[in-house]
């Protein structure tokens, strides 16, 4: 009985003194940790970021989830609760499976190509000594082009009537019809999207390469004669953190940020041309004014991306060694 009454008091006291210490910012070793002398100060600094996240992410997400269970009049006069019907309608539509398949395919191809070419160029640029700055600037400058502009430039090359690439294809006996033939359009959007993303990967890979210590390189040079083996066994593992980061970024790019490129290439009339899932969300929601259906699709997309991110971090990041 006595035991039980004393202990909490002692615990309270200890907690109280800790709180006081925390509040008055008396730390045993002030040099080691950054401490705020007011408990609200850190929250104050966090507030703008939190506000942005809440207003632009959580709040719309909650809205999207709610409206995905309703079929709604676009002007907001009435909403009928339909349960899962928006989800079943979306998934069972003939176009959805095709769009989902294309999105997955497009993500893999664009990520692989832009990472691969970015890495290759970075490795080669790392070795260039004369005119290195010019070479690098030229490669990086493409990154300054906004995606819609990249799409426009691309479509000048692929135009059915006046595009030079169409002429080149015709020379090799292929009638390139971007906008009509499904796979021709796939080809065009992939080329444009990869082209736009290579500089980004190039910058990161190049800085990653330049941070590989010279001593390690020299040691590797003694151990292995083959440049390919040195690259695979030493350079690549040291680049892994960069590569993992880029992988996540590139998948997000292919899934979401290529939107303006598609918009320009299909000239806002997709017909049977390939589109990504996020473009379909836009089409149904903003052009078709089907808010419920579009919300359901965006919730599905949200779940898929969340699952993908978890998978990446659980299975891939384990194999990444941060130096």
């Amino acid at each position: 009985m006595t035991d039980t009454t004393i202990r909490p008091v002692a615990a309270d006291r200890a907690l109280l003194s800790r709180l006081r210490a925390w509040y008055s910012a008396e730390t045993p070793n002030p040099a080691k940790r950054v401490q705020f002398n007011r408990p609200f100060t850190p929250w104050l600094f966090l507030l703008p970021q939190l506000a942005v996240v809440v207003i632009f992410f959580y709040w719309p997400s909650v809205q999207a989830v709610t409206s995905s269970f309703y079929i709604e009049d676009p002007f907001g006069f009435g909403a009928t609760f339909v349960g899962m019907e928006n989800y079943t309608d979306a998934v069972s539509s003939s176009q959805y499976a095709g769009t989902a398949f294309f999105t997955a395919f497009f993500c893999v191809v664009v990520t692989a190509l832009s990472l691969g070419i970015g890495l290759l160029l970075a490795v080669k640029a790392d070795k260039v000594i004369r005119g290195a700055a010019t070479y690098k600037t030229l490669l990086i400058s493409v990154y300054a082009i906004a995606p819609p502009v990249a799409g426009l430039i691309g479509m000048m090359f692929f135009d059915m009537h006046i595009g030079p690439l169409t002429d080149i294809a015709a020379f090799f006996g292929h009638d390139l019809r971007v906008g009509i033939d499904y796979w021709d359009t796939v080809f065009a959007v992939t080329i444009i999207s990869v082209w736009k993303q290579i500089p980004y990967n190039f910058i990161f890979f190049l800085s990653g390469l330049q941070s590989v210590p010279v001593s390690v390189r020299e040691a590797a040079l003694i151990d292995a004669k083959s440049g390919w083996r040195r690259f695979m066994d030493v350079t690549l593992p040291l680049l892994a953190p960069t590569a993992f980061f880029l992988l996540v970024i590139n998948i997000t790019y292919a899934m979401f940020d290529t939107f303006p490129i598609f918009d320009v290439v299909v000239k806002d009339k997709p017909a049977n041309n390939p589109i990504t899932l996020v473009y379909k969300v836009y089409l149904d929601g903003f052009k078709g004014n089907d808010i419920g259906g579009s919300s359901a699709q965006s919730v599905i997309l949200m779940v898929v991306v969340a699952a993908l991110t978890v998978l990446q971090f659980r299975f891939l990041e384990r194999r990444v060694h941060y130096g």
């Binding site: 079929i71 907001g76 009435g78 009928t80 309608d89 906008g179 009509i180 049977n272 041309n273 419920g292």
Partner: protein
């Protein structure tokens, strides 16, 4: 110093006069030259009277204007006037309470409204099943057949009136080195206006006018399928060129003098005068002689203006005044000449005629005459919800038809099935 003072005074003065005026806003989806003309019209209205001040705002394309109008309405920030295109008409008309019927608005403001003043082809499209004007027809167009006169002389043929005529002259044009025909936006030309020109039913429930619930698309019928089987056959034989769903991609061969005929909008006339460096003329869009009762007027394309609800009375009065101003013969003729869209009232048409405009530019008269042709049961219009998405489905299947992936019959079955699903979904939003 003196200059700043006067500027300040000037600003204060304009500020105070603006205070006395009623401000109204107009969101539209027109760009380029057509967007400039909208600014000119607004300026004319502002100069013609002093009580109301109209500010036009471009909201991108037709679709973007509609979605931003909807988003604004939901947050209570709607403009007074919203321009809505033909395919979006059902969406806004079905949302009862979003708009005030143009006719009610005008009569409530104490002005007169006469349905019969409008040309026949314009009267029903944006009206309810009783013929009451919900939207105010604004930029109205008709699909017409443009042709390269030089190409026709070279081939020694005359412009076709029917598709049967087309089949007779097309080989000669091909022989003369031309691609005989291209057409933009097959949804509008070869489905919607195939229905109107040939007087064919497009949807149940009186083309969708009578009720939202239970409306079903009728496109997998013998005649509609025949039209596309012919188009595919012509495309395979080099008599018709298909360049996807994009408007400009199908126009370009005509502008470059490669194709001899192009089916486009009467509203394209202004642009073509600048882009084509050859002589061209135009005739009505062809119909099938073989279909009984064909040759009727076409649906109007383009867009209408809707007065949004939830606005104070004095603003509504100003909106009504603007609508009246817009339909005056002078404004209509100005707009007709500046853009190529048709005049929507009989009086405006007469005025343009009396000014000798059509002697100078006969092509400008083709669209309006086609809209004044004899009407049929099915040439008044159609009213279907989620119609922009139904068009998207059609565009997808048309690409597949011309690439040979699907037969015409199967494609139209898919269009009918998916279209009906969309219509059923729309009925739920309205119910």
């Amino acid at each position: 110093m003196f200059k700043t003072a006067t500027t300040t005074i000037a600003i204060l003065l304009t500020g105070s006069t603006a205070m006395a005026q009623t401000e109204i806003s107009w969101w539209h989806g027109m760009g380029g030259r057509n967007g400039e003309v909208i600014n000119e019209i607004s300026q004319k209205f502002n100069e013609a009277q002093s009580e109301c001040r109209l500010t036009p705002v471009s909201r991108g394309t037709y679709e973007e204007a509609l979605s931003s109008g909807i988003a604004a309405f939901r947050s209570g920030e709607q403009p007074n006037i919203l321009q809505v295109f033909d395919a979006g008409a059902a969406t806004i008309i079905a949302a009862k309470g979003a708009t005030i019927a143009a006719e009610d608005l005008i009569t409530a403001a104490g002005e007169t409204f006469d349905r019969d003043a409008f040309i026949a082809g314009v009267r029903n499209f944006y009206a309810d099943s009783e013929g009451k004007f919900i939207g105010m027809p604004f930029n109205s167009s008709a699909p017409i057949l443009y042709y390269n006169t030089e190409a026709f002389e070279k081939a020694g043929v005359t412009a076709p009136k029917t598709w049967e005529d087309f089949e007779k002259i097309a080989p000669a044009l091909k022989e003369a080195g031309y691609l005989p025909l291209t057409a933009s936006q097959l949804t509008w030309m070869m489905v919607e206006n195939f229905k109107s020109r040939n007087n064919q039913q497009f949807a149940t429930n009186n083309n969708g006018y009578d009720a939202v619930g239970g409306t079903e698309l009728i496109v997998n019928d013998e005649n509609q399928v025949m039209m596309f089987e012919k188009l595919k056959e012509w495309a395979d034989n080099g008599l018709f060129g298909f360049y996807g769903a994009g408007w400009a991609d199908n126009l370009k061969p005509f502008e470059q003098g490669e194709s001899a005929m192009w089916i486009g909008s009467s509203g394209s006339f202004g642009g073509l005068q600048q882009s084509a460096d050859f002589d061209f003329s135009a005739v009505y869009m062809p119909y099938w002689d073989a279909i009984k009762g064909a040759g009727t007027q076409s649906f109007i394309g383009g867009a209408a203006l809707f007065a949004m609800s939830g606005k104070p009375e004095e603003e509504n009065t100003c909106t009504a005044r603007f609508f009246t101003f817009l339909t005056s013969p002078e404004t209509q003729v100005f707009y007709h000449k500046a853009t190529g869209y048709v005049p929507i009232t009989e009086a405006a048409y007469e005025l343009a005629k009396s000014q000798g405009y059509y002697e100078e530019k006969p092509v400008a008269e083709v669209g309006i005459q086609q809209l004044m042709l004899q009407g049929g049961d099915w040439s008044k219009g159609y009213r279907m919800g989620f119609y922009p998405q139904i068009r998207t489905v059609m565009e997808r299947e048309f690409n597949r038809i011309f690439s040979g992936e699907v037969s015409v019959k199967d494609a139209f079955q898919i269009i009918e099935d998916e279209g009906n699903q969309l219509l059923a979904r729309f009925a739920k939003t309205a119910g």
